[in-house]
Amino acid sequence: MAYSDKVIDHYENPRNVGKMDDSDLNVGTGMVGAPACGDVMRLQIKVNDAGIIEDAKFKTYGCGSAIASSSLLTEWVKGRSLEEATAIKNSDIAEELGLPPVKIHCSVLAEDAIKAAIADVQSKRGA
């Protein structure tokens, strides 16, 4: 399979790889996918009191497109409000990375991951 330059760039130089302390009330974790399906994404965000995402980290088990989708997403959500981050669509990710149809599910997974992370931090804060 031929990859776009952007997928290769994110795969070779993944942005914001890492892990945050999940016990921190300002940290939201979204873990989506399943090993049996060949991809698992863990996306974490750190939100400040103004509701702005200050930092984002990810780790992904999956193909190059899944890694690139989650890496790109961490770049996009940093500095955005939770509302703005919620508005990110999988089609935006797929378009930016030039994903072929067979890889669209990777971008869907990334959208699921940010939504899950936001829901997690909101429930932690009792919002």
């Binding site: 290769i8 399943a34 049996a36 698992v40 992904t60 088990y61 999956g62 190059g64 067979v102």
Partner: protein, 404 residues
């Protein structure tokens, strides 16, 4: 070193230069270009002579009579001709066929077609090492069984079935036995005096011959009958019509001749390289070899790197031409059915890499491969949430995952 390094010899092999030279002699006006079926002139006779010489070379490798060789376009056609041809011919005797879950698609899809036509097929499970036991075959035979079709060597994991033992059972029950030997020629000894096989599929391009040419062995004593699938000029004693491709046939003959004379030497060299590759990787954590290591062709290493996904691994290994059992490498998004059938869980099936070594692989290439695979696995594990969890002592099989 030339990049990418080719470690996919089970997919296809380059044509040996000695084979290519023989083939080139059969194309142009100055060469042996005639139609082997032309009986009226010398140019036809010369082509026929070359075809018959090649037929003898192929027969010699598997120890049969040259008259038992029918030329085809490759193993897929041979499998179709053998399975559908025998099933159709013997359908009055019964409509039950036995095969296994880890056969090549050419066999499985031919069987599926026969099921649509009203035949019943039993798909045997291999053991956890990937081997079909003779006892499993014996247990599956019924009074209405007409055909057993099994592979000699598996294309993904390289394990070898005991064809001689299975053939004793099929012969005893008077059931036709078809063997797909696409992956075994030149790698494992084939002696059709000892193996009581009735039909055997062969191909050239996995044994340093050209693509587009293969053969079907059809036993004469006791005589096996098949219904032709390709009708036309009655070539190949009516079993497979179509003008014979002299240059392809000559290539297959020469490739099999080289396989026969050089098999021992090739195998010893390839096994040494395979063991060097395995030794260079096996001390890593959570690494598993898939399939039996003892009953296995020399050149195959199928190995899973837990918590790393196969396609991303291949992306990191762009200087290596290898293949993976990961879903992402196939159109179906299903992980390898062969690895699933030998009991691998989905994660390990997704994490598999098949590296197959051959005649032109060098020690330098193997050492480079070891270095690159180790680097890539380490890099991807740093990126893997599953590796994190494993390192934190979480049992991943106990986690509730939302399937998607």
């Amino acid at each position: 070193m030339q990049f990418p390094i080719y470690l996919d010899y089970s997919s296809t092999t380059p044509v040996d230069p000695r084979v290519a030279a023989k083939m080139a002699e059969c194309l142009t006006l100055e060469g042996n270009f005639g139609n082997p079926a032309s009986r009226s002139h010398k140019i036809g006779w010369k082509a026929e002579e070359a075809v018959e010489h090649a037929r003898k070379q192929v027969a010699d490798l598997i120890n049969c009579d040259p008259r038992e060789i029918v030329w085809t376009s490759g193993a897929t056609e041979s499998d179709n001709l053998a399975i559908k041809g025998a099933a159709h011919f013997y359908s009055k005797k019964g409509k039950h066929i036995i095969t296994s879950k880890i056969e090549h698609k050419a066999v499985l899809d031919s069987c599926r077609q026969l099921e649509r036509e009203g035949f019943e097929v039993t798909y045997l499970d291999p053991d956890k090492n990937g081997i079909i036991s003779p006892a499993a075959v014996a247990a599956a035979i019924r009074p209405d069984t007409i055909l057993v079709s099994l592979m000699h060597v598996n294309n993904e994991i390289g394990v070898i079935n005991d064809i001689e033992a299975i053939s004793k059972i099929t012969r005893e029950h008077k059931v036709i036995f078809h063997v797909d030997a696409a992956q075994s020629t030149g790698k494992v000894e084939i002696d059709l005096e000892k193996m009581q096989v009735d039909l055997m599929s062969l191909t050239a391009h996995k044994t340093y011959g050209p693509k587009g040419i293969g053969a079907l062995f059809v036993r004469r004593k006791p005589r096996v009958r098949i219904e032709p699938q390709m009708h036309g000029g009655g070539h190949e004693r009516g079993m497979r019509s179509g003008t014979l491709a002299t240059h392809q046939i000559v290539g297959m003959g020469e490739a099999y001749h080289l396989a026969m004379t050089e098999m021992a030497e090739d195998n010893a060299r390839v096994l040494k390289l395979r063991n060097r590759l395995l030794d260079g990787l096996k001390d890593m954590e959570e690494v598993y070899v898939n399939g039996d290591l003892d009953h296995r062709v020399a050149g195959n290493l199928n190995i899973s790197f837990n918590f790393v996904e196969g396609e991303s691994l291949m992306m990191a290994l762009r200087n290596l031409a290898v293949s993976s059992g990961s879903a992402c490498t196939s159109a179906s998004l299903e992980p390898s059915y062969v690895l699933r059938a030998i009991g691998l869980n989905d994660e390990l099936a997704h994490s598999s890499l098949r590296m197959t070594i051959g005649r032109f692989t060098t020690e330098e290439e193997i050492d480079y491969t070891i270095e690159k695979v180790r680097e890539a696995v380490e890099k991807l594990r740093e990126l893997s949430p599953l590796w994190d969890m494993f390192k934190d002592g979480v049992d991943i099989s106990k986690v509730q995952w939302a399937a998607h």
